[in-house]
Symmetry: C2
Subunit: 190 residues, 2 copies
């Protein structure tokens, strides 16, 4: 007896993620979302409850897809090659709405206000870091990286480098490919 919604909820979340990713939390108004998602306020709030709730869903989707993409890459080319390729891949992603990491942007924007979404972004960054640590550990098991290194420390440094790289990639006066190549070269030296 009910009526079905005209929109595809998953697609809406993905589109919202792209807008939030590009413009940030404060930089995205409900007017923006209504226009891009083609939802009137009533439908928007029936579907998602609030701007923050949708942002949270977008954030989760972003992180989940990021981890999945890296894991899939590692399954194909192995942990070491995946870690070496990732810097180049993240700055080349042509379909992406921005080069910088959405988790990092969210954290930087909202952490000072102790916003719940900053906390969520922090947790997701931590999970991403754990994923990196896993790959470093695997690369040690396959003998590609010397066992003397602490995989957690490698992951921490690697993630920090990626965050810097991705922010640098938004600048026109920086050749991010050179940085990415240098990061990959450093991994080979481990």
């Amino acid at each position: 007896m009910p009526r079905k919604p005209e929109y595809d909820r998953d697609d809406l979340i993905a589109r919202a993620r792209d807008i939030f990713w590009r413009q940030g939390w404060a930089g995205t108004s409900l007017k923006d979302l209504e226009r891009e998602l083609k939802l009137k306020p009533g439908s928007f709030y029936a579907a998602f409850g609030s701007k923050d709730a949708l942002y949270g869903l977008a954030l989760d989707r972003y992180a989940q897809e990021g981890v999945a993409r890296l894991r899939a890459l590692a399954d194909r080319v192995g942990p070491l090659e995946a870690l070496k390729a990732q810097p180049r891949l993240v700055i080349e992603a042509s379909g992406a709405p921005a080069k910088a990491c959405m988790l990092a942007k969210t954290y930087a924007e909202l952490q000072a206000k102790d916003h719940e979404l900053a906390g969520r972004a922090g947790v997701l960054m931590s999970e991403m870091k754990a994923c990196f640590a896993d790959l470093f550990r695997q690369a040690q098991e396959t003998g590609d990286i010397a066992p003397s290194h602490d995989p957690n420390r490698l992951a921490m440094r690697y993630q920090s480098e990626l965050l810097g790289l991705r922010l640098s990639a938004e600048r026109s006066d920086v050749d991010a490919h050179e940085i990415a190549a240098d990061i990959a070269a450093d991994i080979d030296r481990l």
Copy 2:
């Protein structure tokens, strides 16, 4: 015959810089500024013209002091030691309102909207990068770094690492000191 203002303009800019640095552009309202600077709207607009104008002054001050501090450090301990010490110093700065770089935060927040302040932050980051390149060049002249490296490329990578480090330093699940130590160790290997 005129009356003198009750405030110290330079001090006001420094205090505004700290608020903007911590809370970002959209995250700082005029109410915030009026409260922290103890200025009523009339005085505020007589003194600075607009929120954006004050933000611009704060940004310039931030960058100018950052460059000056690094140059002074290099004069004391030499270019190589300055470059090695900087990562630790920026994350230890106890009086600072935030660990992350204000230029990077501004750029990340406002670049998508082509805001004038993002452009200004970009230019200032570029000047900072040039300062890093100078130091790498000097370190090559003193023989501390092999002359085969391109100082501009080293500066680019170094700045990218610093941006990542400083963002990481805001996280509670990351030991930024370890990252800083690793960055310094890598400089020694050049």
